[in-house]
Symmetry: C2
Subunit: 322 residues, 2 copies
């Protein structure tokens, strides 16, 4: 659908030469007990992906096809993340554009039919600084903080130094600022800019700290993963998407642990209960769980009716600030 108000006709000629290769790429998320996981292939450094071809009915179905073929895992909920235009890729014979359309998908591990080369990897292997469930990880953040300050000090003028310091402080919550779990992407991009992640330092350039900078991924996959994490952390606050990650029935504590795993921070139990219940997101099944010590917990199921009733209105899960 190309409309020209004015301009020359030579564009018409250019169009033929400017076709692009379109890739679909998936951030598939599941949570088991307390770890948020992403589906990977290869050496746990590649996100499932493949080209969008004519056979595909739609972008979504193309994505489902590739993920299922590469990992044997059928997808449920999916949503578009972002579209990147990768730098002119080296097309052997001629210049060509590569477009990557990324998606976020939510499932449960069990749905996997024990297939081949796919693996589930914890988010926090790639982003060790993102898990604040036991407080801010001290070792990791101390190292990163030092390296970030060095990076800031290396800037040209004083204004730039201050700007870098402030950016780092906001993103990572330095100087008794509040940690904001939604800034995952900004944090990764900051570390990239400061060459503190492997992907940024062409090779062993400035040798970033080992266990603190996280596991690297191919190309820009880790950045896409960060985009997915950020999106999901934001979305669980106003849409009932967590339930895509839950078993058909669950206890409220399991639900809470799942949210906490995604958010990377702990919640207040009574308050969590209150909000889930007063929003009527769940209903009791009547059963109780076989639990591990302590009083048995009631089992709940998601009230699918809310999807119709409130249709995307307001469904906020409260994330504690403490």
């Amino acid at each position: 659908m190309h409309h020209q108000a004015k301009g020359t006709r030579k564009d018409r000629v250019a169009i033929k030469a400017d076709e692009a290769k379109v890739d679909l790429i998936a951030v598939v998320v599941a949570v088991n007990d307390i770890e948020p996981c992403v589906l990977t292939i290869g050496q746990a450094d590649i996100l499932p992906s493949g080209p969008f071809v004519l056979e595909h009915r739609s972008l979504q179905s193309g994505l489902r096809g590739w993920v299922e073929q590469q990992t044997g895992h059928p997808l449920g909920y999916i949503e578009q993340l972002y579209t990147f235009a990768d730098r002119d890729r080296i097309g052997a014979e001629r210049q060509q554009r590569a477009i990557s359309i990324s998606y976020l998908a939510l499932t449960r591990k069990e749905q996997a039919s024990g297939s081949s080369k796919c693996g589930w990897q914890s988010w926090y292997d790639y982003f060790p600084w993102e898990d604040h469930r036991s407080g801010a990880p001290p070792v990791v953040l101390d190292v990163l903080r030092r390296r970030l300050m060095e990076w800031a000090d290396a800037a040209g003028d004083a204004a730039k130094r201050r700007e870098r310091q402030q950016r780092a402080a906001i993103a990572f919550g330095f100087d008794d600022r509040r940690w904001n779990e939604e800034l995952t992407l900004q944090r990764y991009e900051l570390l990239y800019e400061a060459r503190l992640v492997e992907e940024a330092s062409g090779g062993q350039d400035e040798a970033p700290p080992a266990a603190v900078s996280g596991k690297a991924m191919v190309a820009d996959h880790r950045r896409i993963l960060a985009t997915g994490v950020a999106r999901l952390r934001s979305k669980i606050k106003y849409r009932p998407v967590v339930f895509e990650l839950m078993r058909p029935t669950f206890t409220l504590l399991q639900l809470q642990r799942t949210v906490e795993a995604l958010a990377g921070r702990l919640l207040n139990k009574p308050n969590f209960r209150r909000l889930v219940e007063q929003q009527e997101l769940v209903e009791e099944t009547g059963d109780t769980s076989v639990d591990t010590g302590g009083r048995p917990a009631k089992l709940y199921r998601f009230r699918h009716a809310v999807l119709d009733e409130r249709a995307i209105a307001g469904t906020k899960l409260p994330l504690a600030r403490a």
Copy 2:
């Protein structure tokens, strides 16, 4: 970046044949006084767009180029909206995919260098049912309501009828439900599905009501516009993007009118003031406005510092519920 875990090599062959044409398309928004406007070309039925070609450094710069060329209007703030894969377009000689990457852009009308064939058109010419600043528009909604109920009744079984009724009621706030201004896209899609907008009824099919179904646009441009409206209505609540639409200095009432124009609903004046001030989004210039009757209003400017300080944290403009 195409990674295969397994699968045949024949994909490699397919890739060459499966290149796609990529289009960039822009929803450019400005507000003057009290009307939210979108930048159009043609008979006010086309959004600025053009192919993404090799000359473009990036998607964003490509978009800026096309908009500036077609409308003479430079863009400031832009953000990606959504990527569509249009149904296999009729490529004359061979099958080909068409990908549309849509963007939302915010500017001010004055920045236009009085250029050629472009025009600003009120949102509400395309979506007359979306403007609730003087209450729900009675004529429009009454007609739509009747037509939607007819559509619901035309469904096969009773379950489907009820489901359609409920969807319509939620989207449009029937039966003393609350009007949710963010559901612009759902409402348009519902009307499309019910064939109450011109784009859906192939030609003069079911002749939708004239002034109530709004001005039509080419292809799926009106749907993209609806996506932009919905995104912006959502975003102004948690990011200080309104200021992209304001002059360098403004009164608080002007700011409020702008937000109201976008949201399509009225706000409570003291409360609006309170939130803007307590979030320190603005600072006084010291001047007062030459106004139209009544006490002169202080002039404010946006505190650009908040962009650094809070970096995308929480900046909610309160939209009244009444």
